[in-house]
């Protein structure tokens, strides 16, 4: 029997691909469509749905709480992108013939393996005003009245960003390190012979060579931040008084705390649209940068 005939048997193809395709279709794609549809309804999750057209979406655009949460999400995205510079610097050091680099990058990675819930609970303790390790250390250094990190609306978002840094540092360092190790040693040697300083090598040779990877991580950092949920939900529930509310936690609260499923779905759909638009914009912007560099 010919190989091509066996390998293009329709029944066999269906047998192998359909289980996965049906599961993804039902549990990922249908809900996305439904999310847009529910967004057109006035619905408490249990009773009858009532069609109200674009009202939920119009309300969302005028909802200051939604825009506040979106602002917080974008602020986190901005911080996350800035932090990439630090990770990049650490990776450059790590990849420059450091003994124990492999062990170090594994140690850096440990927080990334833990659940966001455990990380949140641990950092609630770290930030505890009187008994947390952070304030104990600050008081040991002579700081009087260190802040109540998670209870102060002015600093809560910055405080939350510390465990986010802690969680993802190892991940980005791992990616940059692998990319830097892929640069041929001969290129670096040639630059050294030409008299380039280590900083010049880092900025003029290594950075352009891993530009592709850096672009991917910028998209990851921004899109990841826009979707951020677990850690904030557990640490502060969006509080105090909405000061750390992000888009996903606002949506979740609307649906599962206030039972406004229609409005929650509309916000959920906007979250999807915003994420996709930002992904496209960031890809475009970073593509332009690359053209300038070469």
């Amino acid at each position: 029997m010919s190989v091509n005939k066996v390998m293009s048997n329709k029944w066999m193809i269906a047998f192998y691909v359909l289980p996965a395709l049906i599961l993804v279709g039902i549990l990922i794609f249908i809900p996305l469509g439904l999310s847009a549809y529910y967004g057109l309804m006035d619905w408490n999750g249990i009773g009858e749905m009532e069609f109200i057209g674009m009202e939920n979406y119009i309300n969302a655009v005028q909802d200051m709480k939604f825009w506040d949460s979106a602002f917080h999400s974008f602020l986190l995205a901005f911080f996350s992108t800035l932090s990439l510079i630090v990770y990049l610097a650490i990776s450059m050091i790590l990849a420059s013939k450091i003994k124990g680099a492999d062990l170090l990058r594994k140690i850096y990675l440990i927080p990334m393996l833990l659940s966001s819930v455990a990380i949140a609970q641990l950092w609630i303790k770290v930030f505890n005003p009187s008994n947390g390790i952070l304030n104990k250390m600050l008081m040991g250094l002579g700081v009087e009245n260190p802040p109540a990190w998670l209870a102060n609306p002015d600093i809560v978002l910055y405080a939350i960003f510390i465990p986010i840094l802690w969680q993802y540092a190892g991940f980005y360092i791992l990616i940059y390190y692998a990319a830097l190790k892929n640069i041929p040693e001969s290129l670096i040697e040639a630059a050294k012979i030409d008299g380039a300083t280590p900083l010049q090598i880092a900025y003029r040779i290594k950075l352009p060579l891993i530009a592709g990877v850096v672009k991917v991580t910028i998209v990851l950092a921004i899109v990841g931040s826009l979707k951020y949920f677990d850690l904030i939900y557990v640490m502060t529930g969006g509080g105090p008084n909405g000061a750390s509310e992000v888009m996903a936690s606002y949506m979740y609260k609307l649906a599962f705390s206030t039972n406004d499923f229609g409005y929650g779905s509309a916000i959920g759909f906007l979250l999807l649209v915003i994420t996709l638009i930002v992904t496209v914009i960031v890809r475009k912007l970073t593509a332009d940068k690359e053209e300038l560099q070469y």
């Binding site: 979740y252 499923f261 779905s265």
Partner: protein, 273 residues
């Protein structure tokens, strides 16, 4: 570079390592102490009396059930995801059909979806088919949402398998099923171990789905269970510490024994946001 420069660089790297590890060390230490010692003593002092009974108390207090649920849900979802992803990747990369690249595209779009945009409709769908507060809703959701990333990791491996293997097998009269299950699947063991590790980390740590779909204590997994549990033990830091350490232990052990696989898995999953 001069010696002073190197010392400075090592110092920087060392400080980062300390920052990454210190909170976990502190957690472990206070999981073995009583409140009096935690509040009055120095944070990094070894416990004066090692209170291992903190662990026994929380285990008997209900963490055991959550732990067991986490294990079976994680394992079943890993098996389903690995099997279905391997089958679909096999059909897409090795079999000949017109729509294969379109279907692959569909799976890859699944990588970009924020789960929060789907969670309200999912909740309603499960409610309609009586799967709310049923652990199988969690198993199939984990399987579906991990399929795209798992296939992503498998693809590269499947594309590099030589054609001759299939040709030889089929000319010898081997059926497709035999070819896949007896020849191809065993050949993918190295990449299968990577996807098992990465799926284990995702499933073990997942929170939102369980928090939304499961309400009975008897079905909760560790991530959601420890939330309730910590609520009860609000003031007993030792018990909270012990609970968290128990929840971290399986992943940390996997990391100690298979660190290279974990590193490989995490870097190959970098496309997932």
């Amino acid at each position: 570079m001069n010696r002073l420069g190197y010392i400075f660089l090592y110092l920087c790297l060392g400080l980062v390592a300390v920052f990454q590890i210190l909170p976990i060390v502190w957690l472990f230490l206070f999981s073995l102490k009583g409140n009096r010692e935690i509040f009055a003593g120095s944070p990094f002092a070894l416990p004066q009396e090692w209170k291992w009974e903190n662990y026994l108390t929380v285990w008997q207090g209900g963490i055991g059930t959550y732990f067991f649920n986490s294990i079976w849900i994680t394992v079943v979802a890993i098996i389903l995801t690995s099997l279905l992803a391997s089958m679909a990747t096999f059909a897409i990369t090795r079999m000949q059909w017109k729509l294969s690249s379109l279907v692959l595209g569909l799976f890859m779009v699944g990588l970009m979806i924020p789960i929060h945009s789907a969670i309200i409709p999912l909740f309603n769908m499960f409610l309609n088919v009586n799967l709310i507060d049923n652990p199988w809703s969690i198993v199939i959701t984990y399987t579906a949402y991990n399929l795209p990333i798992t296939m992503m990791i498998l693809l590269g491996f499947y594309y590099t398998l030589p054609r001759e293997i299939e040709e030889a097998a089929i000319i010898d009269g081997c059926s497709i099923h035999r070819l896949f299950f007896r020849i191809i699947l065993p050949m993918t063991t190295p990449v299968l171990s990577t996807i098992v590790i990465i799926n284990m980390i995702y499933n073990w740590n997942e929170f939102v789905f369980v928090n939304t779909f499961i309400s009975s204590d008897q079905y909760k997994t560790l991530t959601v269970g420890i939330q309730n549990f910590i609520g009860q033990y609000m003031t007993d830091w030792g018990a909270i510490g012990a609970t968290l350490i128990i929840s971290l232990l399986p992943i940390l052990l996997a990391f100690i024994f298979f660190s290279n696989k974990v590193v490989e898995g995490i870097s190959s999953s970098a496309v997932k946001g």
